[in-house]
């Protein structure tokens, strides 16, 4: 015991924590300082800049917006806030439709991912321990090549002269090539394919911890498999379901690359609207307003999912 205490006393960084304590910073605060600074510099600050631009007026020039603060000749500071950008978003149905469509596509993709990922995760979690790591490895394997490359590969699969159409026509299932690329269906395929591992992994971690004896008990008490799934397995795997859904849903809303490459022009998503505002209209203020509104809209489902997760955790506790 004594020897142990001596060793801690001789910790080489002891003087550091002592010094910090003397100026009123506890070790706890010091540890939190790094992530707080990180968040402030790389999240809060850029967000404030974007917010500031969203309240300025467009002007063709460099930078392409008017300054918010100006020293007038009489040495007064004039601050000009243009709320017109936000009102513009409300007035034009394009933006509202794009937000709604993004939410819808993200939600449907999340549900499809969940339906595919659940059996996968279940199978991996129930398989022999020897093979589990190998199977998990296979889930992660696609990440070894570039995401962009994999989306391009899908273009090769789905195009009219692509692999799928060639196989279907060779088998005589269709005589005309099907139009699959540049449709909303292709966007679903792309999103589900890309984000599936993010759904499988959290589901796996909860399912692998699931106590087998609970399932046996349920069966012993006469529950049919579906009842067991509904009343035992599903509630216990909720933390994984929610975590996975967040990991798929949130990035899918702002997705730009997949709808741009696989979707048609009529697949309206907010990521593309944002790109158009920035690169086609060169209108930074409206682009910033679109981004701010997207963040606010994203916060709602995140808060809902978060409170659902907290509820699950509390119930467990």
């Amino acid at each position: 015991m004594n020897a142990g205490r001596d060793r801690t006393a001789r910790r080489p960084w002891g003087f550091l924590s002592g010094g910090l304590r003397r100026v009123g910073i506890s070790g706890h605060a010091a540890v939190l300082l790094a992530p707080t600074l990180w968040l402030a510099i790389f999240f809060i600050l850029p967000l404030l800049i974007v917010f500031k631009i969203s309240l300025s007026a467009f002007a063709l020039g460099r930078p392409p917006y008017l300054p918010m603060f100006e020293w007038a000749a009489d040495e007064s500071l004039s601050i000009t806030l243009h709320f017109s950008n936000f009102l513009f978003l409300l007035r034009d149905t394009l933006y509202v439709n794009a937000y709604i469509n993004s939410l819808r596509i993200a939600a449907i993709s999340t549900i499809i991912s969940l339906l595919i990922a659940f059996p996968m995760a279940w199978y991996i979690a129930r398989s022999d321990e020897k093979y589990r790591n190998l199977l998990l490895m296979l889930v992660i394997l696609p990440f070894w090549t570039s995401f962009l490359l994999r989306v391009y590969a899908w273009m090769g699969f789905l195009s009219r002269n692509g692999i799928i159409n060639n196989i279907l026509m060779a088998l005589g299932i269709t005589d005309q090539p099907l139009t699959m690329l540049q449709t909303e269906g292709a966007v679903f395929v792309g999103i589900v394919y890309t984000y599936l591992p993010f759904m499988v992994l959290p589901l796996y971690t909860t399912l692998v911890k699931l106590d087998q004896s609970l399932i046996e008990a349920s069966a012993d008490l006469g529950a049919r498999p579906f009842t067991t799934f509904r009343t035992v397995i599903l509630p216990l795997s909720m933390p994984g379901v929610i975590a996975g859904s967040m990991l798929v849903f949130i990035p899918a809303i702002g997705e730009f690359v997949i709808p741009a490459l696989l979707g048609g022009a009529e697949t309206l998503m907010i990521g593309r609207v944002l790109w158009d505002e920035f690169f086609a209209n060169r209108d930074w203020p409206v682009a910033s307003a679109v981004a701010i509104v997207m963040l606010v809209i994203l916060l709602i489902p995140i808060l809902l999912l978060n409170s659902a997760q907290n509820a699950v955790v509390e119930k467990d506790a």
Partner: protein, 360 residues
């Protein structure tokens, strides 16, 4: 070849000692000969970072953001025109561009409309925006006497409907696409009247269900592969498709047509951004492009006309004689040149364009 090496050798020695070592070039995709950069590097000792884009809007967005890092950019004249007054470019130092003497005075006079006094930019290549076809697929659907020489192919709903299944592609370039529609309707292609814009929008709405996508470079490979059978396209880009289709030899034959109603005529212009890190090397690059054999080499490879009168001797006679690349006087008179749009009109235009594209 050997002779030209000997002539340029002293220049190369001079240049490599005097000029810093990299130049960042931002040019349109598929728009340079395979060996142009290699030759420039060998001659001057300046290494090239070559980056590509497929829309004028992107170039403008990058220039407006500032610190783009590019030494040479190649926007079209009708965009450059409004970028010059914003101070985005630096005036050319003509003493460093002795090859300006090679330029065709007629082209130089035409682009002075975009760049008064030719102070800021030099034409890189020029061309037209017309229609590209997969001839086989189109004649199969329209018979031998389809109006291939007319914009009816795109704008007549009955014809477009017949081509919808083999695929129609359009450029994602609002200024040009709307100008083409206005011209087809017999209106001024450079009109900024909202009523005219609405008319153009209605025209597109009438054929929108038959247009598969809007993209400014995808159609090159899609035409060549038979993935689409009709595309609005930039002349030289369609010729790339012609070439690729012939190479692949899978029964696809592609053609480029300047429709009789007229097509848009544009000039892509090399300019040096105001904040270019290496204007010295940028001048060397521009001057190098203006070498007759280099200009001709690019034209022979990308099938766009160059503004270089001295290069004609080195341009493939077949290309020089092709009226789709070097249009005849009569066709030339029928072409219209898009002008810069005012910023106020921009938003109306892009909004209308988004409505056209998305059907919203």
């Amino acid at each position: 070849m050997h002779k030209s090496c000997l002539i340029t050798l002293p220049f190369a020695l001079m240049a490599s000692s005097a000029i810093a070592q990299t130049v960042n070039v931002y040019n349109w995709s598929d728009y340079i000969a395979e060996d142009t950069i290699e030759q420039f590097e060998a001659q001057t000792g300046i290494s090239v970072n070559y980056d590509v884009f497929d829309s004028n809007e992107i170039v403008e967005a990058k220039l407006l953001a500032g610190n783009s890092g590019y030494d040479v950019v190649v926007p079209s004249g009708f965009f450059l025109e409004r970028q010059i007054p914003l101070g985005l470019f630096q005036p050319l130092d003509k003493s460093k561009l002795p090859n300006l003497a090679n330029l065709d005075p007629e082209i130089t006079a035409r682009v002075a409309e975009h760049d008064p006094g030719n102070e800021y930019a030099v034409t890189y290549m020029w061309g037209t925006t017309g229609l590209g076809y997969d001839i086989g697929a189109v004649t199969e659907r329209l018979g031998e006497d389809g109006p291939l020489e007319s914009w009816d192919m795109l704008f007549d709903p009955e014809i477009a409907a017949k081509l919808a299944d083999c695929g129609i592609a359009a450029l994602d370039a609002p200024v040009e696409m709307v100008a083409i529609a206005l011209n087809y309707l017999g209106l001024d292609p450079n009109s900024e009247d909202p009523a005219d814009l609405e008319a153009a929008e209605e025209l597109y709405a009438s054929v929108r269900p038959y247009i598969r996508y809007f993209h400014s470079s995808q159609y090159i490979s899609d035409l060549a592969n038979g993935e689409v059978c009709l595309s609005v396209g930039y002349s030289g880009d369609v010729f790339i498709a012609v070439d690729r289709a012939a190479e692949a030899d899978r029964g696809v034959e592609v053609t480029y047509v300047i429709p009789t109603e007229g097509a848009s005529l544009w000039f892509d212009m090399m300019a040096i951004p105001a904040d270019a890190p290496n204007p010295e090397a940028a001048h060397a690059f521009i001057n190098f492009i203006l070498e007759p054999e280099i200009s001709a080499g690019i034209t022979n490879y990308v099938w766009y006309a160059n503004p270089n009168a001295a290069a004609d001797a080195f341009v493939d006679p077949e290309i020089l004689a092709d009226p789709a690349i070097y249009p005849t006087e009569a066709v030339m008179a029928n072409l219209f040149a898009p002008k810069a749009r005012t910023p106020g009109y921009d938003r109306l235009l892009t909004r209308a364009w988004t409505r056209i594209k998305t059907g919203q």
